[in-house]
């Protein structure tokens, strides 16, 4: 039996198998130990029984707790292992019957032979870096087209199986098109290929497809699965997030063939590269694709840690090809990943802000550049026009320096229940940082003690923070917030006596936008006229008005402040106990959506000085002013000048022009990214992964069984470089295996998420190593890898299977035939759109809302009401890659075909075959629209007779003409339906104007529903 080392290993699961002459550890023994023994006798020290460890020779051959040695090489009789696996007494027998595991006679024979042959161990194959193997020599020199084929053929020759003949050209172009660009070829493309008799016609086709911008769309999807991409947060609220810039980055990176090592580095740590471009920062959205729980009462830190675990899982599966999340709670049971290692790796990633930045399209970037240079130009012109500007500015600086009051920051406590489920974290500087749930209306009650003997004014500072949307200072999707009302009560410091409501004489602020109606997103459906405006609105006693800070996209995300002066100073001995009611009622009607207009980070201070006003200088300008002139950066100098110029009366025109420019600043969109923290966040091992149970602190580092850490800091960038180090044993193997999986349906290692000890053994181990080394030597070029695979003979085989071969190799692991498998969910939709001519081929951009049943997005199907503005224009027919993805309400037509919803990293999709899929392709509206459009297209473009039309329809959907039997079947259907729809009292119905068109639509629908239409073969 020559079935060796396929799938489940030599004899696992096959009791009758014979023992090979020479037992090898990795092929024959390791699967047995991993599957049946290592759970109790493996790397996890806490689970270890009898102080016996079998995965490493030094432990297996040492005395265990019993004093006996499990393995004495070459001496079966002395080896306790053999005695125990053959024991008849249940008390002695291994594995213990209650474990539910047992060894087959074949496995026992293997263990016996292994001990007798000297019990040699080998390191797990994937933990040693790949070395380029010799390309095998084969008997048939004619078949191989490149070294891949030699590896495949060597095996086939050993098995005595001949490879399949090459597929016909029509099949090849359809296969290549679906594989490389994810769309079926057009008739013109097929004809051109069929007519191209040049010897390199095939290679030319591969090149042109690799050059197509559609290639990036096709291969972005599997990467986005690994990156657990979704357009919403997940968990209960499952709010929309803006992350399509990341998706576009992936598409572009693949189209430009960004080397895979750089592709990974930018996604893990693009922001830490020198002078990172917007794109490189956007790439870090990769790690930010984790879910976010902002349900009421959720602790942000708990779910930040959940996200960290998710990122580790994603890096493990997606980059390393290892499942590392077991080590979150304990040492890995099978792979040598210790719990400490896990948290050391986590520490490398654990020093980031969960940032959300404004990003701009190329057009917006251009416009932004124009605006800033125009402002700089005007400012320079001002200095040229007024030679004495420097002296006047120095005067102004002196004046401004004098205008500061003494403020004492108060460190408040907040009443939990008043927060309405929002969590506020008290920062070192006395500010509160809001996180978690964001109710659209709540009145936060704060208590603080002041020891000031006289209290004349209260200052509220709104501060920016990288963890807030667009940096804050608010929590709205624009980073804005509003103060509906501020009320303060005072009590004597001993807490006795009735609180006295304090009266304000007035309020000043460094920004006082004009009265503006709320954005539609903040509509609370009360039909009241609700506005934001100058700071006086925070103390006018009206729930409809609020102090707002939105002064347009260019200037809104800055620290702001307001000062509220008491009508008469409070003068109590020993200070006062203050109760502050911060009313934030300007959010919208739905707290389950992005409708809040809350403050994000803010701080209160008090002063006894009378007559103070809010500092008109923005905080950064104030700090620039405090810096001695000769030590200011150019940016600080510019900032100060920009403040100064607004105070010069004769520059009114220029100031107005600049204001207008700011007004035109592009709004941009946002993207979740990482931003490095200034102060290192400590990381500890967490007992059983519980964020409340840190045990011991760990330094940043990596496990020592993989490649060594690079020199230099193990920050995110160091970690990223470590991941794609040339010496990494699994990184290159993991990605080439997944690319292979994309072409053959199954990876060389079928468990593509796990190349660790428990993985399925590779079907062609040497080929995997050869590909990995070739990939790295070729500059980590993915396109080169695609080219290599698609131009091989093994790829070009026909997928027809003989009965004998089907029986012998049902899963096609030997690759004696071409692979045939159902297309991924998105491509099934894309094929229908392309065939019908409806496909909208714009590349990139925000996610689209194609047709979907509205009730899905409303309670009680959805937790909260969700936005789904069904597209009526071109967006309706975008490639399915661009379909908006809510995690909690997956798009049904994609879900039915196994598209993952992004809850966690997925590197291997399932490929099911279910009746619900049939209902989708038959009855779902977009599929029906495709059938309609295709039916009409066939009549319009398909020729003048039905035979021609049918050939056209076949070629559009399947890239081949119909066979005679197929023509008969379809013609019968066409004529029957035409007749039926023509009889009086019936009519064509809503499908079409005429019975004939309707009948062609029926035919189109049949073709789009064929197995062949949704399959690459």
């Amino acid at each position: 039996m020559a079935w060796l080392s396929l799938a489940a290993g030599a004899v696992a699961g096959d009791p009758g198998a014979r023992v090979p002459e020479r037992v090898t550890f990795n092929r024959d023994i390791r699967p047995i130990l991993a599957g049946k023994c290592l759970k109790c006798h493996g790397p996890d020290a806490r689970e270890r029984k009898g102080r016996l460890r079998l995965d490493l020779a030094e432990f297996a051959t040492a005395p265990a707790a019993s004093g006996n040695r499990a393995v004495v090489p070459g001496r079966l009789a002395e080896s306790e292992l053999y005695e125990r696996v053959t024991a008849s007494d249940d008390a002695d027998k291994m594995p213990p019957p209650k474990s539910g595991k047992s060894l087959t006679p074949g496995e026992i024979e293997l263990l016996k032979a292994w001990v007798e042959q000297g019990a040699s161990y080998e390191p797990h194959w994937s933990f040693a870096p790949p070395v380029r193997p010799r390309v095998p020599t084969v008997k048939d020199h004619a078949w191989p087209r490149n070294p891949i084929d030699a590896f495949i053929l060597q095996r086939l020759e050993a098995e005595g199986i001949a490879p399949a003949p090459e597929a016909d050209r029509a099949t090849l172009i359809r296969r290549l098109s679906l594989d490389l660009v994810g769309l079926p070829p057009t008739i013109a493309q097929v004809d051109a290929f069929l007519a191209d008799r040049r010897p390199d016609a095939y290679e030319r086709l591969v090149e042109s497809l690799l050059d197509s911008p559609r290639h990036g769309e096709r291969w972005a999807r599997p990467w986005l699965d690994a990156a657990r991409y979704a357009d919403s947060d997940g968990y209960e609220k499952d709010k929309q997030r803006q992350v399509s810039f990341y998706r576009d980055w992936v598409i572009r990176a693949l189209n430009h063939d960004l080397p895979y090592d750089q592709f990974i580095i930018e996604q893990i740590a693009g922001d830490l590269l020198a002078n990172p471009s917007q794109d490189q920062v956007v790439a870090t959205g990769f790690l930010r694709n984790s879910m976010i729980n902002e349900e009421g009462g959720a602790d942000p830190e708990q779910f930040r840690m959940e996200a960290m675990f998710d990122r580790m899982d994603c890096v493990g599966k997606g980059v390393l090809g290892l499942t590392i999340q077991c080590a979150q709670c304990h040492d890995h049971k099978y792979d040598p990943i210790k719990q400490d290692d896990y948290y050391r790796m986590l520490a490398c990633l654990n020093n980031s802000h969960e940032a959300n930045i404004a990003v701009y399209t190329p057009e917006e970037l251009r416009r932004r550049g124009e605006i800033t240079s125009e402002i700089a130009r005007i400012e320079t012109e001002l200095t040229h026009r007024s030679p004495d500007w420097a002296e006047r500015m120095a005067d102004w600086e002196r004046r401004m320096k004098g205008e500061t009051a003494e403020w004492t920051v108060i460190r408040p406590e907040y009443e939990e229940e008043s927060a309405g489920g929002e969590k506020y974290h008290l920062m070192d500087d006395g500010s509160l940082l809001a996180g978690g749930y964001a109710p659209t209306k709540h009145t936060l009650v704060l208590r603080a003690r002041t020891t000031l003997r006289s209290l004349a004014a209260i200052r509220l500072e709104l501060l920016t923070d990288p963890d807030l949307p667009r940096g804050g200072p608010g929590r709205s999707i624009k980073g804005t917030g509003a103060v509906t009302e501020l009320r303060v009560e005072a009590q004597p410091p001993d807490g006795r006596g009735q609180p006295i409501a304090m009266k304000f004489a007035g309020a000043t602020a460094d920004v006082n936008p004009p009265e503006t109606p709320l954005d539609p997103i903040h509509d609370d459906r009360s039909h009241r006229k609700r506005v934001t405006g100058p700071v006086a609105m925070a103390i006018d006693g009206k729930d409809e008005t609020a102090w707002g800070i939105d002064v347009g996209p260019g200037q809104r995300n800055q620290p702001r402040k307001a000062v509220f002066t008491l009508d008469k100073p409070l003068a109590w001995k020993g200070g006062a106990l203050l109760t502050i009611h911060l009313v934030q009622n300007h959010g919208g009607w739905n707290s389950d959506d992005n409708q809040n207009l809350n403050l994000g980070r803010f701080r209160f201070s008090v002063t006894g000085q009378v007559g103070v006003v809010a500092d008109p200088l923005p905080a950064p300008a104030r700090s620039a002013l405090a810096t001695p002139r000769d030590r200011r950066t150019p940016a600080q100098a510019r900032l100060l000048f920009s403040s100064f110029r607004t105070t010069v009366p004769e520059w009114r025109d220029a100031n107005q022009r600049i204001e207008k420019l700011w007004h035109d600043y592009p709004e941009g969109t946002t993207q979740l990214v990482l931003a490095e923290r200034e102060r290192l966040r400590p990381t500890s091992v967490l007992s059983r992964g519980d964020f409340l149970k840190p045990t011991k602190p760990v330094e940043r580092g990596v496990p020592d069984f993989l490649n060594p850490a690079p020199s230099g800091a193990m920050d995110r960038l160091g970690f990223a470089r470590w991941l794609v180090d040339r010496r990494s044993p699994t990184t290159a193997r993991s990605i080439v295996n997944r690319v292979w999986q994309g072409y053959f349906g199954t990876g060389i290692v079928s468990t593509s998420e796990d190349l660790g000890v428990q993985c399925e053994p590779p079907s062609h181990p040497e080929l995997l190593d050869w590909l990995a080394v070739e990939f790295m030597d070729g500059g980590w070029s993915l396109k080169r890898l695609h080219r290599l695979i698609t131009t091989s003979a093994v790829y070009r085989q026909s997928s027809h299977a003989s009965d004998g071969l089907l029986e012998r190799d049902p899963y096609n692991r030997l690759l004696a035939r071409g692979a045939r498998f159902r297309l991924d969910a998105e491509l099934i939709r894309d094929v229908a759109l392309a065939a019908s001519g409806l496909l909208d081929d714009r590349l990139g951009g925000p996610s689209a809302y194609p047709a979907a049943p509205a009730f899905l997005f409303q309670p009680p199907t959805s937790y909260g009401p969700k936005v789904w503005n069904e597209a009526t224009g071109r967006d309706r027919y975008r490639r399915a890659l661009y379909t908006f993805r809510y995690r909690s309400v997956p798009y049904p037509a994609l879900q039915a075909f196994d598209a993952p919803n992004g809850d966690f990293a997925c590197v291997r999709r399932q490929r099911s075959n279910s009746p619900l899929q049939a209902l989708v392709t038959l009855n779902e509206p977009i599929f029906l629209e495709c059938a309609q459009a295709l039916g009409e297209r066939v009549i319009r473009e398909g020729g003048s007779c039905d035979q021609d039309r049918l050939a056209f329809a076949f070629r559009v959907c399947l890239s081949r003409p119909p066979a005679a039997e197929e023509v008969r079947t379809i013609m019968e259907l066409l004529n029957r339906e035409t007749r039926r729809l023509s009889v009086s009292g019936h009519g064509p119905g809503p499908l079409a104007d005429s019975p004939r068109t309707a009948a062609w639509i029926v035919v189109a629908r049949v073709l789009l529903n064929l197995d062949e239409a949704i399959t690459r073969e």
Partner: protein, 477 residues
């Protein structure tokens, strides 16, 4: 002979059973033969038909499950767990040692205790204590096991619901329903094995992951049904496609698929043909199963069901109809129990919406002889705090330490009250049942050793109960 013969013969597609299909359709035999090959080669995880009924580890007492998921988390203190001491200490702070290290979602742990809002009385021969809000359940308590010692690990809705549904707070694990179908297969050839409804004010916090298949094959995923309109998405023929047209089209699809199968010889095509067959049958059988007007008036009255409404009561009656037709697992999410405020009014209303139908299920299944092998599970993702939330003395926060569920039928001991919480309903003091224990017990009733119902994924044998879970013997008849 072709696979569409029954259409020509005017036979009801629902009457076409699996045996007929295999006998009459050569393709079916092909795929069956392949399945044999795979099994012989040790690929037991990929049989030809992943939904074929399968033998369990031991004889199952429950053959199907109805999980009434009271999402949002009902207050055990108002419904089942009578605490006179809580009345006595109403308005006083909880003992300090009790709330040490206690984390709450919204309130300060030191918030004052709040006495129960409703009266309790003992019912039936078992003398089970039930609140006045559940008069219908009170009449069937002798058929029910009330579990007062429930405890969970999470106190936010989404993670706690996911834990209840999948045995893990981490999203992406297979749900209880998926595991059940993975283990047992389906007894229905034309309805999904695992059906899910949502009847509350909103959908469950955990969304679709509550009925996900995780890493199990996706055929085990729960299929969302609606009690009004199209029960399954895209079930109805679209406008312009009448029954005959659909029939003719499917016949053409299958004929062409068979022609191609004869050329390419891929067993997947045979499966595709079968999927289209089953979809066609489902188009007829699902609306029939969902037609409440076929129920006699007295049965509808028993549930309080009114055809045309999308109510919890209607859904319960539909669930029974589906279970009768071989659906393995029905889960109804009724998300409306999150009473942070307005407790008195809202919980009363919730009970009015649900009590009668829940009790009717017990009565109805029993009188049909189905209760003995149908397991009913009722409960939410956690309980509510004995401490008050809100100024109006009328709300409770999330509480994971102790809460109540009830089980009935399917081999569960009838007429018992199992487990006990302390005098304040804060901690379990006797017969604690963790979610993992509940899962182990449910799987046991379904015929499984929960440690052996595993699936290899990412190099590890995963199971519903992860690394814990004990079968609760005291709940088994």
């Amino acid at each position: 002979m072709n696979c569409q013969d029954h259409w020509h013969r005017g036979r009801d597609p629902r009457a076409i059973n699996r045996r007929w299909f295999l006998e009459q359709c050569g393709v079916g035999l092909g795929s069956l033969a392949l399945g044999e090959i795979l099994r012989e080669q040790g690929h037991a995880s990929s049989p030809a038909d992943p939904l074929a009924p399968r033998a369990t580890h031991h004889a199952p007492k429950a053959k199907r499950v109805l999980f009434l998921f009271m999402a949002g988390a009902p207050s055990h203190l108002e419904l089942f767990d009578h605490k006179p001491q809580l009345t006595r200490f109403n308005g006083t702070p909880p003992p300090a040692e009790l709330i040490k290290d206690y984390r709450a979602a919204f309130i300060k742990p030191s918030a004052k205790l709040l006495g129960p809002k409703f009266r309790f009385a003992r019912h039936g021969q078992s003398g089970a204590e039930v609140s006045e809000l559940l008069p219908h359940l009170a009449r069937v308590v002798d058929d029910v096991a009330i579990v007062k010692g429930m405890t969970t690990d999470a106190f936010n809705h989404a993670p706690a619901q996911i834990l209840m549904s999948t045995g893990s707070q981490i999203f992406g694990r297979p749900s209880l329903g998926a595991w059940t179908c993975y283990g047992m297969g389906s007894e229905s050839r034309d309805l999904p094995a695992f059906v899910v409804f949502s009847t509350g004010k909103k959908g469950p916090s955990g969304g679709g992951s509550n009925w996900g298949n995780g890493f199990l094959p996706s055929v085990y995923q729960g299929v969302q049904f609606r009690s009004s309109g199209d029960p399954v998405l895209y079930l109805s023929n679209p406008p312009g496609i009448d029954g005959e047209l659909q029939h003719d089209s499917l016949e053409a699809v299958n004929t062409l698929n068979r022609i191609h199968q004869s050329v390419i010889n891929d067993p997947e095509i045979a499966t595709r043909i079968r999927s289209f067959e089953m979809a066609y049958r489902m188009q007829a059988s699902a609306p029939e199963a969902m037609d409440l007007s076929r129920e006699p008036a007295h049965v509808r009255a028993l549930y309080g069901a009114k055809p045309g409404e999308s109510s919890f009561a209607n859904t319960c009656l539909l669930a029974r109809r589906l279970l009768e037709r071989g659906v393995r697992f029905v889960q109804i999410f009724h998300e409306s129990w999150d009473q942070h405020g307005n407790l008195t009014h809202d919980i009363k209303e919730n009970c009015r919406d649900t009590d009668q139908a829940c009790a009717a299920l017990v009565t109805d299944l029993k009188q049909r002889g189905m209760l003995e092998d149908t397991l009913i599970v009722w409960g939410g993702e956690f309980g509510r705090t004995p401490m008050v939330e809100g100024g109006g003395d009328d709300g409770r926060d999330h509480h994971p330490n102790a809460f109540t569920m009830w089980l009935a039928g399917g081999g569960v001991k009838a007429g018992v009250t199992f487990g006990e919480s302390d005098d304040l309903g804060f901690q379990v003091v006797r017969d604690r049942v963790h979610i993992h224990d509940l899962h182990a017990t449910i799987l046991h009733l379904l015929g499984f050793d929960h440690t052996r119902l595993t699936y290899r994924f990412q190099g590890r044998d995963f199971r519903l109960t992860d690394v814990s879970g004990e079968v609760v013997r005291g709940l088994i008849a």
